[in-house]
């Protein structure tokens, strides 16, 4: 569970200054902050992310630095429990939060008159973000799969393991090579794979390292909302609206060809708990725009933004009936469909025949695949 955010700013005259901290009760040890800062500026001092373990504060810190070259070098520190790693929330979310905070900070710097309000907004945003991160710890399996797909590291790991089983060392090597960066916490990255039961870690006699076997696979895609289509086929909620809806759905899927870009978009939507909650809501029935349920603390504006984002991404469709009432339909459901990696059988055979796979590893992977077949 994240402890909070501590945002510091580097100034020539005062050095490292704490700008904002949330919650207010969180303690700030400047020495620790300096340690983080040093981690960032060691080398070229470029913008980027570091992960630091603070023994004194009994915390782990995921820190984003805007760079010494930036106008206002900010350091946004997400304070985590010792043993917690940012990867558990997914790379994308943290990046997104960091970027939004940076945007707020830049606005504050640019607009001193509204600084107070903007700071309040920023604090509210940080508060919401912390709440979001808390919720990210309890994602559904489908969201976890989307999380794997949306992260570059996890997606690359998935691609590597779709080829054949690898030892951890091998995987790390390939991963670093492909992403062109150091990977220090592979076990944390593999965590969603383990939790979603996509892989099995096992040891094979004669092998020096733990091997990772893919035992299940998944595909991110859009799918027609089953219930809504069924209701529309029964002319619900209104024949005209239903017909329009069906036409929209059919038109969309007539032209739909899944691709990675679209998949990444829908994956990022899926891993956002707030958005995902609405998608889950819209799966059951269409809602009049005015009657969309609001969560605690949510404003009409925030819902409108959210709806707009969903509409832009062709997740929902707003259809107006004769009386002028706007109905929100789920145009495309977003799903992570898990399936049995049947294709691996031929790959194992091929790799074994070509000498790319040891006999014991091939047998072990086949054992795992036999047991993984859905009962």
């Amino acid at each position: 569970m994240p402890k909070g955010f501590i945002i510091t700013k580097w100034t020539e005259d005062k050095g490292l200054v704490v700008q904002i901290k949330y919650p207010g009760t969180i303690t700030v040890d400047l020495d620790d902050m300096m340690r983080i800062f040093y981690a960032h500026i060691t080398g070229a001092g470029e913008a980027g992310n570091v992960f630091v373990r603070l023994e004194n504060a009994r915390s782990n810190v995921s820190s984003h630095f805007t760079g010494m070259e930036s106008e206002n070098p900010y350091m946004i520190n997400l304070m985590l429990e010792l043993g917690e790693y940012p990867e558990i929330y997914g790379e994308k979310i943290i990046e997104e939060i960091n970027q939004n905070i940076v945007n707020y900070l830049n606005k504050i710097d640019e607009n001193k008159q509204e600084a107070t309000e903007l700071v309040e907004k920023l604090i509210r945003y940080i508060k919401d973000s912390l709440f979001l991160l808390e919720r990210l710890e309890n994602l559904s399996k489908e969201q976890k799969l989307a999380q794997i797909y949306s992260g570059a590291k996890t997606r690359t790991i998935l691609n590597i393991l779709q080829e054949r089983a690898r030892s951890k060392r091998e995987l790390q090597g390939i991963l670093e090579q492909e992403l062109d960066r150091l990977i220090s916490n592979l076990d944390i990255i593999l965590d969603p794979f383990v939790k979603t039961d996509l892989i099995r870690q096992d040891w094979v006699e004669g092998s020096s390292d733990i091997l990772l076997f893919l035992k299940s696979d998944f595909a991110i895609m859009r799918a027609p909302p089953e219930k809504l289509v069924e209701q529309a086929q029964k002319n619900n909620p209104d024949p005209q609206v239903a017909q329009k809806y069906l036409e929209s759905v059919r038109e969309f899927f007539n032209n739909y060809e899944p691709n990675q870009e679209d998949n990444l978009r829908i994956a990022s939507i899926m891993i956002n708990p707030d958005i995902y909650d609405y998608i889950a809501l819209f799966r059951d029935k269409p809602y009049p725009l005015k009657k969309i349920p609001k969560g605690p603390g949510e404003s009409f504006e925030s819902i409108s933004d959210l709806m707009r984002r969903l509409e832009e991404n062709e997740i929902i469709k707003v259809i107006e009936d004769k009386s002028g009432m706007k109905w929100v339909f789920l145009l495309t459901d977003v799903i992570a469909e898990e399936f049995y990696p049947e294709y691996l059988i031929e790959k194992i055979r091929q790799d074994f025949v070509e000498g790319n796979l040891k006999k014991d590893i091939a047998i072990k992977h086949l054992d795992i695949l036999e047991n993984a077949y859905p009962k």
Partner: protein
């Protein structure tokens, strides 16, 4: 989902195969232990089956169907008849008699005059006329001192009596004669006879005499028998004078001898024989100048009578037979092992009309089964004229075949002058037998054990096949097969029908989109 359905399909096929194989085995088992229903069937605790059945067909002789006859010995002595719903043994007794009587012997040419081969000189006169057979002769020291004449007549009996026996006979022939009596020298012409010896004669031995006789012989005269005669002893005696001999019956041989001689002359030709009537005259030379005058000697009549009866030959037999169904043919139980005849009772009624003749005390009914004579015999002399019933246990004579023969056996040669009819009726043969189907053991469990082994074997094979193969979906089977090959170090061939990742994801997507296809009541849309 689809794979699960396939898995279920293979499981169902496996189960169906098991049920079919098991059903066949169960059916086979039920067929093995099934027993055909039969009349009077009793199932003993030992599993042996006991049957009781009346075996004789047409036992009441409603017709002569199923029955056949067999005769041995003299076929003319016996025959079978079927009448009044009874089967009869008929003993063909009969009788007859023959009378040869001529008075006087007929002068119709049937009598042939012939020489007496021992005295081949005819008398002066020998002829047949209204008086009879007449002879007259005069001798005066000539060569015709001893003369004789025979008349032969061949007679034919109305019946061939080869199979008959003469039971009584008699012969009667009447003669008379007249002679010149005075006896003196020379040439008195008188007959010297009786007490003329020593009185009026100088030489005398036998005196003069005439001999009348009746002979019988076979046609070829190989056997000639004198059956009656009369030889004068005092005809021509001077004192007291006996000049004539009135009608005198010839002396005949005893009846017993006559029967014997008749039988003899009829032994070669059983219907024809010859009767000879004859006279012989002896003129003894009683004086140096002797002459004898036999005025007239006559055979006036002859009467030969005899009776005969049918001769029934010993060892003649006649039977009523029926070849019944064998016991094995009667058994319709499959896979029977053996059978045992527990009881077999033969019943039948019999009578004799008239009573069986006493002169055949040893004749009997013989009950023959399958060629073997039953130890109990029914003596015909004890058979009455009313129905009696025989009740015999014949089980020891039955092995498998049931061939019945009720034989009337004639054990004596005897005469029978009338027909005797012995009848039988209401013949039944009740056989009780036990059939052992396999073994006298209480129950043969082998079929059950075999069936159970078969079923268990099939179930085990089915279970093992299911556990090692059919239990797994086709994809998993491929995994297992590949693993086995790799484990054995073999080079596995390329796996066909394995979908690559793109096809799998494409299939998932297509399946999702299929759900939005327009329904029948909808307008067609732009679906691909």
């Amino acid at each position: 989902m689809k794979l699960k359905k396939k898995n279920t399909k293979y499981t169902l096929i496996g189960c169906l195969l098991l049920i079919i194989i098991s059903s066949f085995m169960l059916k086979s088992f039920l067929l093995t232990v099934s027993v055909h229903k039969m009349e009077n069937i009793n199932i003993n605790p030992s599993d042996a089956l006991t049957f009781n059945k009346q075996w004789v067909n047409n036992s009441n002789f409603d017709s002569d169907d199923f029955w056949f006859n067999e005769t041995n010995g003299d076929f003319s002595d016996v025959k079978t008849t079927y009448e009044n719903n009874e089967a009869n043994y008929v003993i063909l007794g009969s009788e007859g008699n023959y009378i040869f009587y001529e008075e006087p012997p007929l002068n119709d040419g049937s009598w042939i005059k012939k020489y007496n081969p021992d005295f081949p000189y005819y008398p002066d006169i020998a002829l047949i006329n209204q008086t009879g057979m007449c002879v007259s002769h005069y001798w005066d020291e000539g060569a015709d001192q001893s003369v004789s004449v025979n008349w032969d007549k061949n007679v034919t009996l109305p019946t061939n009596i080869s199979d008959y026996e003469i039971t009584s006979a008699s012969i009667k022939a009447v003669v008379n004669g007249s002679v010149h009596v005075p006896s003196y020298q020379p040439y008195s012409d008188g007959i010297e006879a009786g007490n003329d010896l020593g009185t009026n004669t100088t030489q005398y031995a036998t005196g003069d005499y005439a001999r009348f006789y009746v002979l019988i012989s076979d046609i070829n005269k190989n056997n000639v028998y004198e059956i009656a005669y009369n030889q004068t002893t005092n005809l021509g005696q001077d004192s007291p004078e006996i000049a004539t001999m009135g009608d005198t019956t010839m002396l005949s041989i005893s009846e017993e001898s006559l029967i014997f001689f008749l039988s003899s002359v009829l032994s070669s030709d059983f219907q024809n024989f010859t009767i000879t009537l004859g006279m012989r005259i002896w003129c003894e030379d009683n004086y140096p100048q002797d002459s004898d005058w036999w005025k007239l000697l006559v055979i006036k009549s002859v009467n030969l009578t005899f009776s005969y009866e049918k001769k029934i030959d010993k060892e003649t037999s006649i039977s009523w037979n029926q070849d019944c169904e064998s016991i094995t043919k009667d058994i319709s139980i499959e896979n029977y092992l053996s059978f045992r005849v527990d009881k077999a009772i033969l019943n039948f009624s019999y009578k004799s009309v008239p009573l069986w003749p006493e002169n055949s005390p040893n004749s009997e009914f013989r009950i023959i089964l399958n060629g073997q004579i039953h130890r109990v015999k029914i003596e015909l002399k004890n058979v009455g004229e009313s129905w009696e019933t025989a009740n015999l246990d014949v089980a020891y004579l039955i092995n498998d075949d049931v061939n019945i023969s009720i034989q009337l056996y004639i054990a004596d040669t005897f005469r029978l002058n009338n027909i005797v009819q012995v009848s039988i009726d209401n013949m039944t043969l009740d056989i009780t037998y036990t059939v052992f189907t396999e073994d006298p053991k209480p129950t043969d469990w082998r079929p059950i054990i075999y069936a159970l082994i078969g079923v268990i074997g099939t179930l085990i094979i089915g279970f093992v096949t299911y556990q090692t193969y059919f239990k797994y979906p086709p994809v998993v089977r491929k995994v297992r097969k590949l693993r086995k090959k790799i484990a054995k170090g073999k080079t596995p061939r390329s796996l066909k029908k394995i979908k690559d990742r793109k096809i799998i994801t494409k299939n998932i997507q297509e399946k999702q989109i299929m759900d939005i296809a327009p329904k029948e009541n909808e307008n067609p849309t732009l679906i691909k």
